[in-house]
Amino acid sequence: MEVRNREDIQGYEATGRERLTELAGFLDDVPADRLTFTRWYAQGKGCAVGLAAAHNPGFQAQGFRLEYDASNRNCWPTFDGHSDRAAVAKFFGLSSTEMRQLLGPDGYAGKVEPHPRTVAQNIRSFLAESISV
């Protein structure tokens, strides 16, 4: 069988770098008014990873999903038995500091609603400089 995509390889697990690259591509198409760092995800708005967990089938297929509480109003990302930031760290292979800089207001001069493309650009710059992920 000819292998065209890495997903065709049985048991293939994407690396953090590949997932971050995919996240940046996903953010390129997110409308400006949808991104906020004030919550994971709710009513169509959320942070970069919350939006990705809610709307990116690729991430969902890899087990990165949102879990809701009993009220169905509050949710958080889960992956491989981890939840919240631990799930994000595990899925993307990021340290706590890297997460704060890439996926929180700390990396955007305290702005809680930066443009999604700014976040995407920040992720790409990080990938270009970093060899650890």
């Binding site: 760092f37 004030t38 919550r39 994971w40 919350g50 509050n74 939840s83 919240d84 631990a86």
Partner: protein, 362 residues
Amino acid sequence: MSNRLGAAPVKRNDVPVGLFTKVRNLITRDIAIDLGTANTLVYVAGKGIVFDEPTVIALKDVRGRSHVVAIGTDAKAMLGRTPEGIRAIRPLTDGVIGDFGIAEELIRLICRKAFNQRGFTSARVIVTVPSGATAVERRAIRDSVEKAGARKVFLIEEPIAAAIGAGLPVTEPTGSMVVDIGGGTTEVAVMSLGGIVASKCIRVGGNTMDEAIMSYVRRAYNLQIGESTAERVKLAVGAASMPPDGDERRAMLRGRDLVTGVPRELEIGSAEVVASLAEPISAIVEAVRTTLEQTAPELAADMVDRGMVLTGGGGLLPNLDIVLEQATGVPAVVANLPLRCGALGAGNALEHLRSMSKMLVH
């Protein structure tokens, strides 16, 4: 004390009544209930507000049957702290009844507490309902109060009750605007000649703000906090916008660390809380804007002169009046006793049932 607009503020807890009404009140005990998602207030004709406690009930399940353990303030203290077998719940969601049986029991017990254990059989009751409540939701509230023992039940829309309670001249041929921010809903209404001319009801309120704070703390600090903690933070350092002097206040909060699972304490600043509340605040601003757009030009001109009045617990959020004023260009002022406007207005309608009947929902 007059407000910033110089409008007549609410200044009473009791509504003046005539001799006949006083005699009638000795025989029957008519009451008005402001049944809110967060708090319930009971107004007794001739007495004023006799009950003002959270709309929470704690139940214990014994052999498949639920027994009431506590209601009101006592039950609220149990929220998130109950052992197995006991549930502390809010029977109202977004201003409407979510659980009929429990709501009925709660209403019965609230009235018993308000009347010192005697109940309210044979009373006429006015209950506030959200203006956005559907016919089914209104029927649910009416049925629950009837089953709790009321002889006759009247419904009054929350913005009308709040406007009457805030002392607005709702029966006059002039526009009065009220923004009633409750626990589960925000009601924006423009009234004239005793009726609602334009209105908007959104399912955003104080509870939504608490949830926004909970979500923010969870995401930003990996800390899970409860509703009560979020509400305490909102009351301590919450605001619709930062003060012009940029003076930041800080509050301590405790919760459970989501990584270690152990309790953790941290300090949060008002700037962060303001950021987390941006979403519900903008929804309220949008609702006010939409209502103003629906308002006829003559009445809209009245709004510019008379302004809008904020009622409900959400009206107490610092700087919300300023944010609304800046966003709409219409002056905004917080009513005196904003938490009690709904009950006072419904009570006023109760005392003058005949003349105010056209304002009730039939």
